[in-house]
Symmetry: C2
Subunit: 239 residues, 2 copies
């Protein structure tokens, strides 16, 4: 598979501007391209497609990349088929996936991204690149017909991965507990991607980028920590 | 509607034992009853139905109430139809709702609870008493065919309601933001029920119990805080 993916945990880390912390990696991914198709369906804070696209445009234009929003096209399928690159932004993962199916973009996105079209995801856009959205942190504000996602990688991602807060008195489940529960019903590995972390996938190579380690959950095994220098190729192999 | 419900945000508050903080209210609800049917489907931490039922049994037996688990019956529908009272415990709300549908318990539970059978929910068990589970905090580890729930009340509940942490550097959405996004796609009111809070519904009367206020979200309006002494009857009226 000729993949060319940049899967980012969060668009904005604490104290940096929109996409700023991933600037080097985004520029490297888009070398030689002059445009990107933005998919604003996840609508963080309920922002409109237009306003969300304007936000993405502002960031990419500084880097010499022009941005169009997929909602601006009469034929969104054709827009995906002809895009130089695609960026799916964060927001609500359920809403995003439902809209991807409603607009029949799941198959075209799979096809293009598996043939090497550069794909950038942040948060929800990273989530949908995985096998399913079953490890999203979001609220199910709408009900997609399935949780099956783009499966550009054969594992699930948990963006904004959060370690347990040692002094919390809140009785909700920790992220780790939730993922262990997920593995009571699903086989695929889960990568807990902390804010500031990214996965860079080039064909059959995968690297963890950013300053932090990632927490990897395999069904029936103790969670493991991997550093950016570690070999995590096994994640791309069948499980 | 002859309802008799106790909808508890969390089974266990910080520093108290299982169900302890709701002991007075549970005893009042079950006055004159000697048994309760426990529905362990939500399986917190992936605990077995048997072990989860043992935990509930330990709590209720101290109060002179015998507990059976619905999984112990060959005919779970009949078990619901004949129960003196029902308790649905917390865990994963998606798994709980999926199992309620799989075992055909949604309609029998609705019917019994709307005719006055005492119903206790904690966390996920409180969530499913609402109109939909669209305001759960849980991870979608399985995919129920619908988010429509028991609708014992005409609003949604967000258990374990959490105020924004003022000093957090984490970029995930606040609970309030998520609920405002929910209202971009759904009309029904949402009650954010903090840990330690409970809703007591008797026919067409509703009271907030516990030491804290609850945060109430109506579509298109600013969130409101209601204290236990406030009249919140409007929540039971059509919206």
């Amino acid at each position: 598979m000729s993949r060319n993916l940049l899967l980012i945990s969060t668009s904005t880390t604490h104290g940096t501007g929109y996409l700023e912390h991933a600037e080097t990696e985004i520029k490297e991914l888009l070398k030689g391209k002059s445009s990107i198709l933005f998919i604003p369906y996840a609508r963080p804070n309920g922002i409109s497609h237009k306003d969300y696209t304007a936000k993405a445009r502002e960031a990419f234009e500084k880097w010499g990349i022009s941005v169009t929003g997929v909602h601006e096209y009469d034929n969104p399928v054709k827009a995906v088929q002809e895009a130089e690159a695609v960026f799916i932004g964060g927001g609500n993962t359920f809403l995003l996936l439902k809209q991807l199916y409603a607009n029949k973009l799941v198959d075209p996105l799979k096809e293009r991204a598996r043939k090497g079209m550069p794909y950038i995801g942040t948060s929800a856009g990273t989530n949908v690149a995985g096998k399913t959205i079953g490890t999203t942190n979001d609220m199910p504000i709408v009900h997609p017909k399935t949780l099956d996602a783009l499966e550009l990688v054969p594992f699930n991602i948990n963006p904004h991965y959060l370690d347990p807060l040692p002094d919390s008195t809140h009785m909700g489940e920790s992220r780790e507990t939730r993922i262990l529960e997920f593995h009571g019903h699903n086989r695929q590995p889960v990568v807990g991607l902390r804010e500031g972390s990214m996965l860079r996938v080039e064909s059959d190579k995968i690297r963890l980028l950013g300053p932090l380690t990632a927490r990897v959950f395999l069904q029936g095994q103790k969670p493991m920590e991997f550093a950016p220098s570690d070999d995590i190729t096994f994640l791309l192999e069948a499980y």
